[in-house]
Symmetry: C2
């Protein structure tokens, strides 16, 4: 047992000395126990326990040339969606005996850059990222310098990375198909800013659904927001309520659940009945969607699986000698609840 004052770290050398073997043997006990006789193993293990030996990961990494860690740079740590994706990544990492660095860029380019640089210096095996800008040049530089990188929940035209995403156009289509089937003709889309790819694609899906149903796409009422938050959803609710009754929609498709929850809350406080006066569809199916006062119809994405698959692609890229980039596109699913079903 080490005295609690000065801590000179216990190294394999110390263990070797106590067990009266060479330090190579100690290393073998740790990494190739089959090559060491049982008696020696026991002696070494005893010495390790007595000294409180803890492997030094830095030295291992240095020797190995790469770490046993992945990095995940997420766009928004306070959004349950990304937390769930992280969970999937974590599962896959754990299954491969790897650690995971989780970083939160908070949608700020400079934080993102700083984290990426850190991860590169750490020599992580690879990086998963939901980038704030899918065209940032750093995303190309990292793989070129030897750190594989997989893009999560975004895609890119060019064939430069593996990526994993969900078909947001289809998701938008599912949502509006559902509303059309229920007989709604005057439908609103709430979301923004349009700089966000997801918002554009989900809206595009809405247009497609309308066109398919033979409705005039121009009649889609668009309410643009400045972000995908509950507060913005409330604001959108006020604006919708302010429309002249003739032009007011009977159904709304929101670009995500936070918007939808804010909108719902605003409706309740303004005595607009959901779904009788206004049907609402959200997107993401976060946990609170089903827990809302009026449970929310929403488009579900396979979040965990998104993470697992992204991590699996990354691992394949690190192992394959000759690697071809792959883009995986998942299919979303509509979950119908009371907010559209009267």
């Amino acid at each position: 047992m080490v005295a609690s004052g000065e801590h000179r770290a216990v190294s394999v050398r110390d263990v070797a000395a106590l067990a009266k073997v060479s330090l190579g043997t100690v290393s073998n006990v740790l990494n190739h126990p089959e090559a060491v006789s049982a008696a020696t193993q026991a002696r070494v293990q005893a010495a390790m326990a007595e000294l409180g030996f803890v492997r030094n990961e830095s030295a291992r990494q240095l020797r190995a040339g790469r770490s046993r860690t992945l990095g995940y740079v997420m766009l928004d740590g306070s959004n349950p969606f990304f937390t769930d994706v992280a969970r999937g990544i974590e599962e896959e990492a754990e299954a491969n005996d790897l650690s995971l660095y989780m970083c939160n860029s908070d949608n700020r380019a400079e934080r993102e850059l700083s984290y990426l640089s850190r991860l590169e210096q750490q020599r992580v095996q690879g990086i998963l990222i939901t980038p704030s800008d899918a065209n940032a040049p750093i995303l190309d530089e990292l793989p070129r310098r030897g750190t594989p990188l997989v893009i999560v929940d975004r895609t890119r035209e060019a064939d430069t990375h593996c990526s994993v995403a969900v078909d947001d156009v289809l998701g938008g289509e599912l949502a509006v198909d559902h509303l059309v089937e229920l007989g709604h003709e005057r439908i609103a889309f709430v979301g923004g800013p349009t700089s966000i790819g997801q918002v554009r694609e989900r809206r595009e899906g809405a247009f497609k659904a309308l066109a398919k149903a033979g409705l005039d796409p121009d009649r889609l009422v668009e309410v643009e927001t400045n972000g995908l938050t509950v507060a913005e959803g409330r604001g959108a609710g006020e604006r919708l309520a302010g429309l002249p009754v003739r032009g007011r929609p009977s159904a709304v498709f929101c670009a995500n659940d936070l918007l939808a929850l804010g909108l719902l809350q605003q409706c309740v406080s303004m005595r607009i009945r959901v779904p009788e006066d206004l049907a609402i569809v959200g997107y993401d199916d976060i946990e609170f969607a089903s827990a809302a006062a009026v449970p929310l119809t929403s488009v579900r994405q396979p979040r965990r699986q998104l993470g697992r698959t992204a991590a699996a692609l990354l691992l394949r890229e690190t192992r394959d000698r000759d690697h071809r980039h792959e883009k995986v596109l998942f299919t979303p699913e509509l979950v119908v609840r009371r907010s559209t079903r009267s």
Copy 2:
């Protein structure tokens, strides 16, 4: 520019060769630029850029004997409370130019253990943890072997660690004080299992408030749950509604917001008016508390500051020569919203 095939890592040695200086000089450019002439610095910088040099953090760590990273093992990654605490820790880490390993034990002892062991092997500067069991022996072993450890959102009798927590007894008291002031006499407490310290303390606060008001503490209606989730909250709502009208409480204090939200949802679907028929107080003041159909009165904890303070204590412990453990206790605050205000 490196060819994209084989990647022999670029090291200071390569940079030195290209810049025609010794490798010690390259290191000086990185760590003590004031000791290097401007001309040489420029030459070295150019060489680094040309070769795409990336510092090897493992080697630095090995040389330095410790990493430049903290570790945070959180109890439940999908609970917004812990995400916010993490955010605070991250801020403090960033301010000190440290990285942060975020790990999610998911309230499972074996995962917790595995992460702690990993962090120790990484030679992190220190560990922050919300332990599943505050008395686990590993919590003592780590500091003894040289890794400082701070306990977050829990306290311990013994004076063995720094810790940061919020006064949960006071929080419970605030909640029930408020209900008593509104004239409620028959009050329920919803929460469980009682193996969770927070649940016990918040309930104790409720008792204190009742006693203080001269009400018989035995009249507190206790509804024990199997966890702190939305689903459990719904179940509690059903049980409350099943009580004979005479014994039914007019107000409920829930051990956290998830329970409260579930309860609220159940009330709405059973046409129990909130707050007219039943007033509800939650705990944590998560974002969705204010976004609920009936905005929720809740007890707010300084989550970010909890994280920041914990990290600051940890850093002080790593720096101070002679350290005395410190316990910080924050004060919660009642946020009144519509769920109690008719």
